[in-house]
Symmetry: C2
């Protein structure tokens, strides 16, 4: 039995979902792999931090933060270290970057991953900023330092797109990507079909807890563009940033547009498209009319991805809205993958 | 540079497609992994066999078999050994089981894989018979002998379903499977929607080279049942055979049934369903009305799979009809996966 220590940067929805799955599967992993996976540090922006080299009691951590809104300052594990200080000083084998994305330049998440890898630690990100702004640098750094750099959660939240690409499309060119990547904007478009106006939909989404107070980054296409960039960087080695993408959000889509599309047998979806033209990345995010018979228009579809491949032709993957903690599972399988590379067969 | 030797049992469509991809990617694999992948034996039922421990010239092998219908009996590499003798006597690191499926009991393909693994060789099957009739035995044998046993091609021909399950669904229960797994019967149903009668469709399929002289195993649901069994055995550890599946093919579906479904906004598809009920496998293959808006009814969809999972909710994968050699690629990625386990990082 060997302890495998994890430092969590961020303890929001994804972090707590990961903690819950780890608690459920801890014993199964231990029995199968011999690794005792423990969270030895949790850093947050405003709730304080916890550090315990033997492993933090996650049930207690979730309870106190939900009850009090912050960790217990009187507890011996409580720490005033900043997130970057935890990256630089705490004891851990893998860092989990779970902080909110910065759409401007991906920082400070890029530095978190960079500092961890330079200390010889494995790096996992659920934050797509680093994928959009520094993928090649981080990939090459991981290779140079002999550590893992995984990011399954950043696109389609846990559906194993990147793992499939790594293992099964290694010698199979990905020629084109077509996708619905931002669930929020597509929820808005779907509810507009029901006749609701945008403000009422935003209010409904906030009440349901699945829309942010300011949903601009979703509505304006920035979130979708960051994900498309991540996909193109990994699947096509595009070496690009969101600045290379032509972005139009759904802010100008009117009820009249929706009705006109419907009259033509179509629905409006925020479609992401990407390919290389003469080796140069060409990507777009824009509201697009899609035939109602297209799988992208199927009832309940939350996110959708079609990759056109050299040997397998097009492959479509559909993700549905669900109450399950998808994002937490994506991080969890990245941790399992690190365990495998670190000695588990 | 180390030679990695492969013995091919069967040299039909899948075998030749594999050979073609290997030729295209041989240099790339060599550069990335250090493995010089060579085919050292090819066994066929009626075209003779070839054995060359240094590696068979695949271009020449494909040319002669296409020109003459059999291998060149005067060539030094020519051999009269039977398929089983090649399994037992030839030099190779991995065997590729590419012979036609036996729907009754999966033999002799099961014995081919068994004999190879007992010699300490890795085993790859594109033949779903062994998956339907002896999966647990072969899986456990591989574990006991410390060799790989891979089978990506057996369901959805190369779309990496099993690899995804192995790497990414390890701690995530698969609760239910719903799928279209037999392309031929679904092609027939689709063409019936166009008003053609079955015999005309069979004739069209034979002319196009994608339907067998006797398509009974497709039409009667046996092929779909073998694939559903393979999926349930791997994803749910069902420990079952096709005898545990309630099978009804499309032989009794009439133009009137198709028209009646259409009037209700539905299409008829040959749907496979499987789950465990109190630990016991419950599976069915039967013609089923599906709403036209279901992704399974999308234009061009060739095969479709929805797995309902514990942590990720339902995930749908769609495969499209394509001219690309999908089956050959599935075998190829299994070979790459063996290389990785055999020392390539």
């Amino acid at each position: 039995m060997r302890q495998f220590s994890v430092a969590m940067l961020g303890f929001g929805i994804a972090g707590k979902a990961f903690a819950k799955i780890l608690l459920e599967q801890h014993q199964a992993i231990l029995e199968e792999t011999g690794f005792d996976v423990q969270v030895t540090a949790i850093a947050t922006g405003s709730r304080g931090a916890l550090i315990d080299p033997k492993g933090i009691d996650l049930v207690w951590a979730m309870e106190t933060v939900e009850r009090d809104g912050h960790f217990d300052v009187t507890h011996p594990a409580y720490s005033n270290l900043s997130t970057m200080e935890i990256v630089d000083q705490a004891e851990y084998d893998a860092v989990l970057e779970l902080t909110p994305i910065n759409f401007t330049d991906g920082q400070p998440a890029i530095s978190h991953l960079e500092h961890a890898m330079k200390r010889g630690k494995h790096a996992i990100t659920a934050n797509k900023g680093p994928m959009a702004y520094a993928y090649r640098y981080l990939r090459d750094l991981a290779k140079e330092r002999g550590v893992c750099f995984f990011y399954e959660t950043t696109v389609m939240a846990g559906i194993p797109i990147f793992d499939m690409a790594y293992h099964s499309l290694r010698y199979c060119e990905v020629r084109e990507i077509r996708a619905i990547l931002n669930a929020t904007s597509n929820y808005v478009l779907r509810r507009m079909e029901d006749g609701l106006d945008k403000e009422a939909i935003y209010e409904e989404g906030r009440r349901g807890g699945f829309m942010e107070a300011d949903p601009s980054n979703d509505i304006k296409g920035y979130d979708a563009a960051a994900k498309l960039t991540a996909l193109m960087n990994v699947l096509m080695d595009a070496g690009m940033t969101p600045a290379d993408i032509s972005i139009k959000g759904i802010e100008d889509v009117t009820p009249e547009d929706i009705a006109a599309a419907k009259a033509r047998g179509n629905k409006i979806k925020l479609i992401c498209k990407g390919k290389l033209v003469d080796g140069k990345p060409v990507g777009s995010v824009q509201p697009t009319e899609v035939p109602e018979t297209d799988p992208f228009c199927s009832e309940g579809v939350f996110a959708a991805l079609t990759i056109d491949t050299e040997y397998l032709g097009p492959i479509t993957t559909l993700q549905y809205g669900t109450e399950t903690p998808v994002t937490g599972y994506g991080v969890f399988i990245d941790v399992c993958r690190v365990l495998r590379e670190a000695g588990w067969q």
